[in-house]
Structure formats: structure tokens, C-alpha cells
Symmetry: C2
Subunit: 359 residues, 2 copies
Amino acid sequence: MKPKRSSPAAPPQALILAGGSGTRFWPLSRRRRPKQFLALDGEATLLQATLQRLQPLVEPSAVWVCTTAALCREVARQLPEVPRRQILAEPEGRNTAAAIAWSLSRMPARLRDAPIVVLPADHRVADPAAFRLRLGQAIEAVRERDLVVTLGVVPRWPETGYGYLRLGRTLDERSGLRRVSRFTEKPDLARARRFVRSGAYLWNAGIFVFRAATVLREVERHLPELHAGLRKMGRERLRVARLYGTLPAVSIDVGLMEKLSIVATLPLDCGWSDLGSWAALQEVRPQDDRGNAIVGEVVALDASRNLLFADSGLVAVLGVEGLAVVRSRDSVLVVPLERSQEVRRILAELEARGHAVLL
Amino acid sequence: MKPKRSSPAAPPQALILAGGSGTRFWPLSRRRRPKQFLALDGEATLLQATLQRLQPLVEPSAVWVCTTAALCREVARQLPEVPRRQILAEPEGRNTAAAIAWSLSRMPARLRDAPIVVLPADHRVADPAAFRLRLGQAIEAVRERDLVVTLGVVPRWPETGYGYLRLGRTLDERSGLRRVSRFTEKPDLARARRFVRSGAYLWNAGIFVFRAATVLREVERHLPELHAGLRKMGRERLRVARLYGTLPAVSIDVGLMEKLSIVATLPLDCGWSDLGSWAALQEVRPQDDRGNAIVGEVVALDASRNLLFADSGLVAVLGVEGLAVVRSRDSVLVVPLERSQEVRRILAELEARGHAVLL
């Protein structure tokens, strides 16, 4: 089959990054069932919600998913609308620069100039309409100019766990498209406060829109090892399996975006959350009149401001406050919400005890 | 078969009261699996430990169990050493006076003058040897005299949830057998403190030794309705089923013992506990160096003075203090230990929701 001539008028594509294997939502999340596969926020899983959120801007037939071999089957099960050949399985995770560049290299040449939306599979958006409005503007901007447009989240508190985008000169008055003049990784609290107060910064949510041609060109220039590695590897299955682990493992932000002068941003105000912990989930879920966020079969008496999550069976609490209580089929976690980011310590302990089945 | 002539030299018998259906150990205890059937304190269930504790003073072949029809099969399963016909099933619970008098009436006439130990199935004894020493003395006392001997627990704190026995004049210098001059039901804290300080009181643990003839005679005198009811009912199965519910429902303490002048007591210091709540269990179980009592598969990080009970699956806690966390196959309970006696409120809520299967 002869590749068609690529065209900026080709329908926009999306690349969902679904290779994550976080531990923050243990005991619900497991190695084989990471966060993106969980219905933490409603009926759909975060992965399914990510796909739904793109429609109708990006049709499921134009969606690509980059995941790992271990997770590939579950991705296909959860996203039956996505063509199976567009679910790409990395032999192993090599961070986002490799995942994105490799996925782009797997797309047909006719899509080289189509706008491509790259986004994580495990975030939450409270207002999908607001998200789509911005995304549509970003797609238009990329059709018109040789830009990488990132959707930057309007910061709501001085978060020290995120990267920040500094707003540069305005490129488009109507949409508010502005140049990104600097990327700043996780600042300390004093800086984060200044950033938020200044109004000149957005959170980097890892959502990008660009043309494949643009990013592949910049990878060749700024990540020559990755470029060479991908060329050497080619598309032959066994060769990919053998060589993928030799690709440089760097994030797309640090490896590429920070070095580019063509990055622009649109401010996103859509109730975005990266759901980084049980505490983050407690904040975004609907709460009862005592501030308890409740999922599943739960009895809560004299209890306030808890996250009570019964994925299986019953959770019953009495007289407790500020706790995450999460029951899965085989485990239960009890931790103060303010310490819920320490869950990984429990996994380390389980690993030390050889309880691989619970990880 | 002609009844043999009864004799005080007949081997001592025991009557284990195993009809209880408490809710205090929910979610482990259920209507069909009350506390006495649970292994709360070691490998054996409390019922099995009760039987073991009696040996060799009372052989299993001389043990009788009074339980309810609903629990009868489980009693037989847990106590295969006890002759099946000695497991007596009340059609329904009618409190301890009826349970004891009915059970005594079911025993063969040849045992009417044998010493009979009556004891609850769901208590804990840390030092069975000390228990047996006192029990042996009580059996001897009952062989020699027409007495009801109760083993009174040397009080360790001013508990307001127990009954107290006031010590009267000494009957036997060697064993310390003393008359009980008064029964006092649950005193207020000030009185309980005085009682404990005075050294003149013991806790009423509901453990009695007497001859059947003695108690049946006193029932006839002090509980004539019960006596008449038992006579009228007889031993025919359907008749028992029909009439048992008409027996007066009163405790043996209030209905009988308080009215007798022949009650004596021996002081018992054997690490007794009635295990009235998860908090009581936390106190008696071995603890780790941070005061956590742990049962089953548990991970506890930065956690102190908790009861962590995994009857099924894994319990993982981090950064919590003073909690009971109990995981059963289908439920999990999280409650501060100091409020663990309020568990019944959760059951009321489940009942209101129609979750009978969880009760």
C-alpha cells in the first residue's frame, strides 16, 4: 500500500498514554491493574473517561493508545471502540519521550501532519465541555502553525508536586494562546506561592497537541539518541522487544519540551485533577453532609471527612475522622488522608514479605 | 433402664452455656456465628477453649452444652468429643435461669447429686491451671456441703459493667471459701471504686458449681413459674418446641442466686476476661512493641495501640492509633477502641437497610 500524501486536513488523532503503573491507589490499583483501569470517579474507568472526553473532537477510530505489554489486553478490553492495531504495547516503560516518539513513528505517514493530542490516561476532568473547548482551539492552532500547544491548568493552590509553565507573549488574542517562556519542575512552596499569585503560571498537565512531523523533527534534533534508537529498532516485533529497553528513558517535558521555542499554551479551567492520592480523590468526589466521600456499600456513623471506598463487600466505620478506608477483595487499607501518599511504604513492606500477589 | 441411685461420688459434670448471640464482635461474629464460635484468642474457639479448660477435672463425656436450635449443629461440629445427646438445643433463648433449670431437668436422675459446673462458653482465661485449682476446690466444697459455689474474679479495675459479689463470713480457711453476703448488679463508678478498694468484693463471672438437686429445689421455691413450666412442658420434643417460649425469662443471678443464703465463693485470679468488646480483646492479646495487637495478615507502619484483625485477606494500616480494624470475608469495621462497644449501632443500621446477610 502506497502511503498517502500527508495533510494538515487529516482528522485529528489522539495518543493516550496508558503505560502507568502507579501504586498510589493501592489496594485497588495493582501492578496488573494500575489507576487508569479503575473507576475511581464514576461508572467509567479513568481510561474510558479519557476516551469519552475526546469525543466528538477525536473519533475512537482516530485514537491510539501507548501502553505496556502487560497491560495491553486490559486496554483493549476497556476500549473496544479503539482499533486493536492502534493499541501499541511497549515491551517495557521507557518514560514519556520514548513512548511518544515511538508511537508517532508507528503511525502511518499520511498522519504526519495531522494534529495529534497526547494525554495521560489517568487524570480526571470535572467539566469535559470546558476541556473540549480548549482542546478544539489547540487543534486549530496546530493546524495553522508549527507549534506544540500544551493545555496548562489554571492553578488553584500552590502545589509543589507539579511542574509549572510560565506564560510568555500572546500569540492569539481571541483564544488566549500564549508562548510558554519557561518550564519549571516542582518548585518549593515559596516559589509555588509566588507563581500562583503572579497569575503568570499554569500547571503542566502533560496534555500536548502537535503534528507528528513537528515532534519527530525536534526529537531528531534534541534527542538524537532516541531518534537513532528508533531508526535502528525499526518495526520488526522481535527487534523491538530486544532493543526497546536501550532507548533513553527521559520525560517528554525534560527531554524535549523545555528545549523548544515553539511551545505555546492555552489556559484550561475544567476541574482537572491528576488524582495523585486517596486524599485527592476524597476532595473531588461528592461528599455527604459530614464531608465523607463514599463509594460502594458503606455505613458511616459519627464519621467526618473520610474517604470510604468499598470496592468489594462492606465498609463500616464509627467515630473516625480524616481517614481513607479502602476495601478491595483481598485487602483493606486504613490511613489518615493527609498521609495517603505514603501508601508506597506498605507496598515496599509487602514486597519484602514476598506477597507479590498483593502488589 | 432403671435410673441408678444418685450419688455425690458421681463424676463431676459441666454445663456450658453456649446460646449467646452477641453482636460485640461484629463483623466476625454473626447471628449464626456468635462470639463463642470464634477463635479470638488463639487457635481454639472460645467454646473449644472452655471445654479444654475443664479437663481433666471434667471429662468431655461428662460435659453438657445448652445452646439454641440455630447454633446446635455448630456446637456439635466444634466439640466432637461431647456426646451428641448432651448438646441440648433450646427452641429459643429464655435467659440463664430457664437454660440452666431446663438443662438440669434433662440430665439423668443418677446425676442429681453430682457436682455440676455451669459456665459461659465465651469467656477467656489466661491461666487455665489457676482456674482448675479453684474449680477443683469448688467441686470438693459442693461434694461436702449443700452449697452453690461461684468462682468470683478478683477485680482488677472498677468495672461498672459487671455484677459484684460481696464477701461474707469464711466457710473454709484453707481454700478461702466464703459466704456471698450480697449480689450487686452493675454499680456506678464511685461505688465500683469503693468495692475494689475495700477488697471485700469479687466480680461475678457467672461460673457456678452446685448439685442439680440443690438448684432444682431452689427453683421450685424461688421461681415457681419456671418450675411449673418445666413440669408442664415435659421432655416431648414438639411440646418443648411449643411451650419453651412461655418460660419466664430471667437471669440465674437475679432470679435465683440473689435470693439464696447458700451461695459461697472462691476467689479466682486466672486472667479472666469476658471479652466484652474489641477493646477488651486488644488488652488481652499479645502486643507488638508499639502496643498493636495483631491477628492474621497485617501490615502496620507508624501505628500504635491498635487492634488489627485480619480474619480474611490483608489489613494494612499506616499512621493510625487506638483503632480497631477488623476485616472479615465480606466486611471491614474501623472504630476507635474506646467506642468499640457501639458496634451494635452499625448492626442496627444494617438491619434498617435490610442487609440481613451481614448481621
